[in-house]
Each structure stands twice: as structure tokens, then as C-alpha cells.
């Protein structure tokens, strides 16, 4: 484990050096490891803290994946060669809206809200520390499951933008990710029984039991209702493309 983490650090340094040498040209191809990598991101922003939900997802995802829990990474880091470009599973829990999901970089403040947008047609741009899925036309297609666990992340942001500026559509239709999932309504984190922590736990648990992406999301949403006396807290508005995908046995996508 220590050796692999050291390799990962080296890869990250290489990425930084590579970026500085190649200006804005993205890295050419994805890297696949054995066991396959899974990166899970959580962040703090204003009074929102999604790290517990991300931690639950991390803890309940099958250990046949090499899992990494990342707190308060920037969007650029999350899409880097040592992260999304090496991942079979990529999951971010954060503030979101149509067309983007948010990351942070400590300390909280002006640099905190970095965003991953579907493409340059929406959000606040693609330059570091922000980023766009559309910057990675060949580098993330080995991702089997990409999760955007934030409010409205499966809503079209702009009908004039490619894939309507929708994170889920952009990930699957253009970047070649096998499956992606977001939400069409507000979702909540941070209070007992509210939802994010429960949904994160159980989505990972069911995925690890060979449920499809759709069935895991559906059943985890029922678990949120169980905790809230029928109120779904928005988790029943999950919206996926490639929802028939299974992440077990652990493997990279196509």
C-alpha cells in the first residue's frame, strides 16, 4: 500500500511537470492499474460538508478496487493523470448545479470553490484550478462508473452547449465513460438521516454486491426513504446513462 501511494505521488509530480511542458495540452492516454483504482472526493464549502458521505462511499466500496479518499481536492487535481485518468470508479460528493459539480481547495475562502463543468459552454470555465470534462476526450473512457453526487447534476445546463451542458451526458456520450449518474433535484448532506451519508453508504454497498448502477441507486434511495419516513431527500431523482453497468468484478471500463 505504501509503495503504491508513493508511485501515485510520483505520478502526480510527473503530471505537474507534464502540464508545465505541454501548456494546455491534456495527457494523451489513460493508465490502468491492477487492482483498478477508485477515487472518491468530498469537500467542505461554506456550511456544507460532504466528506462524511464520501467517506461512507469509500468505506463500503469493494476492497477489490484500490480505493483513495480525497478531501478538498481541486477540480484540476480530480481530473489529473493520477486520478480520473487512472480510475475505474470516480465519485464526487459536492455542491452542484446544472452543468457543474464543485470541488474545493483548503483553506476555505476564495480558492475553495473550484468547479468541474461539463464543457466550456457552462460553468465558470475550464482553466486550473477549475476543469471541464470536455478537456479529456480520450483520457477518461476507462472509467466504469462516474458519480456526480450533487444537486441538479443531471440537469441540462444550456441547450446550446454540447450534450446540453449536462455532466452525465457529457461523461458518457462524448468522453466514453461506461456509466454516469447524477441527480435532477436538490439533495442533502450533513444531518442525521438526511440522505447523503446513507445514500453514499448504500450505493457503494450495492454496487459491490453486483447490483447494476440503476438498481444500486434505486435501492439506496429507498434506504434514504426508510430513514426519513418516506421522504426521499432528492435521492429518488437519480438519473443515469449506462445504468445497466455493473462495477463487479473490479475492472476498468471499455
Amino acid at each position: 500500500m505504501r509503495r503504491v501511494r508513493w508511485v501515485r505521488r510520483l505520478a502526480a509530480i510527473a503530471t505537474i511537470l507534464g502540464l508545465s511542458l505541454t501548456a494546455f495540452a491534456p495527457t494523451a492516454s489513460a493508465t490502468m492499474y491492477s487492482p483498478p483504482w477508485a477515487d472518491i472526493f468530498g469537500s467542505t464549502w461554506n456550511n456544507l460538508n460532504t466528506i462524511p458521505a464520501a467517506t461512507n462511499f469509500y468505506n463500503n466500496l469493494s476492497s477489490t478496487y484500490h480505493r483513495f479518499l480525497n478531501q478538498n481536492s481541486t477540480a484540476t487535481t480530480a481530473m489529473g493523470s493520477a486520478y480520473a485518468q487512472s480510475d475505474a470508479i470516480w465519485a464526487d460528493f459536492g455542491h452542484g448545479n446544472a452543468g457543474f459539480i464543485q470541488f474545493c481547495s483548503p483553506p476555505n475562502g476564495a480558492t475553495c470553490s473550484t468547479s468541474l463543468s461539463a464543457n466550456s459552454g457552462v460553468g465558470i470555465g475550464c482553466g486550473s484550478p477549475n476543469d471541464c470534462l470536455s478537456d479529456y476526450p480520450t483520457q477518461i473512457h476507462h472509467i466504469k462508473y462516474m458519480l456526480f453526487a450533487g444537486c441538479h447534476t443531471a440537469i441540462d445546463a444550456n441547450s446550446g452547449a454540447p450534450n446540453a451542458g449536462n455532466l452525465v451526458k457529457q461523461a458518457v456520450y462524448t468522453e466514453g465513460v461506461d456509466s454516469a449518474l447524477g441527480f435532477r433535484d436538490l439533495i442533502y448532506f450533513g444531518a442525521p438521516g438526511t440522505g447523503g451519508e446513507i445514500w453514499g453508504t448504500n450505493d457503494a454497498r450495492y454496487l459491490s454486491q453486483s447490483y447494476t448502477v440503476n438498481n444500486a441507486a434505486f435501492t439506496a434511495a429507498q434506504d434514504v426513504q426508510n430513514a426519513n419516513f418516506g421522504w426521499g431527500g432528492g435521492y429518488d431523482t437519480f438519473w443515469a446513462i449506462g445504468g445497466g453497468t455493473k462495477v463487479m468484478p473490479a475492472a476498468y471500463g471499455s
Binding site: W45, N46, N47, L48, N49, H95, N97, G150, C151, A154, V168, L181, L186, I187, Y188, F189, G190, A191, P192, G193, T194, G195, G196, Y206, Y211, N214, N215, A217, F218, T219, Q222, D223, Q225, N226, A227, N228, F229, G230, W231, G233, G234, D236, T237, F238, W239, A240, I241, G242, G243, G244
Partner: protein, 255 residues
């Protein structure tokens, strides 16, 4: 005799839970008690599913109840450890695998009603609505049964998920609790929204969703609350509930 006594205790506790308005603060909701064995929970799920490979884990502790998780091949259920009722059930062998729609809304409603009737799950006094839900690579009809008193959603609801391609039931939720009919809200939605914005720390947020619902506090006392979803000027969201009689607010979560 032992089972008779246990049953009487359960009924008595249930009655107390439902009529616990004004229960002393710091007390524990009587519904946190465990009256049902794991074997009974498995039997309840087996009766609806016919599955023979079920196993229960728990009881687990949630905010307002304890429950067993019952799992089998293509089956997951949560069973209330106080009442033995199935709260949620996923029948994944029947789940949609695409977006084909071959069933009309009326047929979906009929399938849901037939399923509930077949298993003796009462919908007496409840009104049904049917909603088509798009989940991207799958769709569902959700048939919801509920009742409102003085505009408030009371704690007696069912929902049935129907596969639009086949008409098969693949999901069920049932949430019931003894309650007394709530009074009319004395706090208006506008007043509740202001209180909710205060609780959320939003100075200029907007109300996005609202509902008036009967719920219960940690001691099991019945409450009438406005459940509000708010979005602030920074785009952050908050879910709050505001007591519709006293105006007291509570944060439910942020997004």
C-alpha cells in the same frame, strides 16, 4: 401466553407512541423498541417475494426507528423492528432494464392496487396518484397513496414502483404510524420560510419546495411541520423543518 403478553405490550407501546403529544423532552421514542425478531422480519419479506434465500441483519438504529435489513438474490427490504411492517422493498428481478413504455398509467395504477390487495396492505382512506419518472436509462411509474388532513400529509403512505415495460411491481414503500388528526397550521408558509432562512443562515434565499407534514420528535411526540427546501444567493441549498404551530426551526441538511 408469552406471545400474547408481548403482543399486548406492543399494542400498548404503539398507542402511547401515537398519543405522545407533549411527551417529556429527553425521553426516547417508544418506537425505538425492538418487538420483532430477525426471523419474523425474514418471514414478512418472504411472504411478499417468495424468496427462500433471505437473511436479516440488524436491528439497526435510525433517527426515529430501528429496523432489520433483509437481503436475498434480487431482493432488499427494510423491516420495522417495532411493528414488523415492511418499510421498503426492492424486487430487482422485476426492475426496468431500459426505457420502453408498454403500460398505460391506468394499468400501472391497477397493477399497484392488485399487488397491495394481494398482500393485504390496506389503502383505505388514501388517495392514489400516478407519476411517470425518468431516470435516464430506466423509467418507472410511481403509484403513491397518501392522505391529507387540514392540508398536512399524515404518516400513512404507500408507494409502488411499476416497470413501464412489463407492468411488474419492483418497489414498495409503506410508512404508517398511529397519529391524531393535526390541527390547522397557525404559522403561515411565509412566516415559516422566514424562520427557515434564519435557521439555514440565509439572508436572501428562495423557497424551492414546501410541504406541510405530520412528523414526530425524538421523544415520539407528534409534530406538525413545514418541510422547506431553500436555495441561497450563493447557490447552496438547505432543507429545514419549521414547526407549524410554534415556529421553531430545525436544519435537516445542506446541499
Amino acid at each position: 401466553m408469552r406471545y400474547l403478553l408481548r403482543g399486548l405490550v406492543a399494542i400498548g407501546t404503539l398507542a402511547l407512541a401515537g398519543l405522545a403529544i407533549g411527551a417529556a423532552s429527553g425521553a426516547t421514542d417508544p418506537r425505538m423498541a425492538v418487538n420483532v425478531t430477525s426471523a419474523t422480519a425474514v418471514s414478512a419479506v418472504a411472504r411478499l417475494t417468495g424468496a427462500v434465500d433471505l437473511a436479516a441483519t440488524g436491528p439497526f438504529t435510525a433517527v426515529d426507528h430501528r429496523y432489520y435489513a433483509v437481503d436475498g438474490k434480487n431482493v432488499h427490504a427494510n423491516v420495522d423492528a417495532f411493528t414488523g411492517a415492511i418499510r421498503t422493498l426492492a424486487l430487482l428481478a422485476n426492475a426496468p432494464t431500459g426505457t420502453d413504455v408498454a403500460v398505460a398509467k391506468a394499468d400501472a395504477a391497477a397493477s399497484a392496487a392488485a399487488f397491495l390487495d394481494a398482500y393485504g396492505i390496506s389503502t383505505a382512506g388514501l388517495s392514489a396518484t400516478v407519476k411517470f419518472v425518468d431516470h435516464g436509462s430506466m423509467t418507472e411509474f410511481v403509484v403513491t397513496y397518501e392522505r391529507r388532513v387540514n392540508g398536512a400529509l399524515v404518516p400513512d403512505t404507500r408507494s409502488v414502483s411499476i416497470n413501464p415495460a412489463t407492468g411488474a411491481v419492483f418497489g414498495l414503500t409503506t410508512f404508517s404510524r398511529v397519529y391524531v388528526d393535526p390541527p390547522k397550521a397557525t404559522i403561515t408558509l411565509d412566516e415559516a420560510t422566514k424562520a427557515g432562512l434564519d435557521v439555514a443562515g440565509m439572508t436572501d434565499g428562495q423557497l424551492v419546495h414546501s410541504d406541510l407534514v405530520v412528523t414526530f420528535d425524538a421523544a415520539g411526540a407528534q409534530l406538525l411541520v413545514w418541510r422547506l427546501e431553500l436555495v441561497g444567493s450563493d447557490g447552496g441549498a438547505a432543507a429545514v423543518q419549521v414547526d407549524a404551530l410554534s415556529g421553531a426551526g430545525q436544519l435537516l441538511g445542506r446541499g
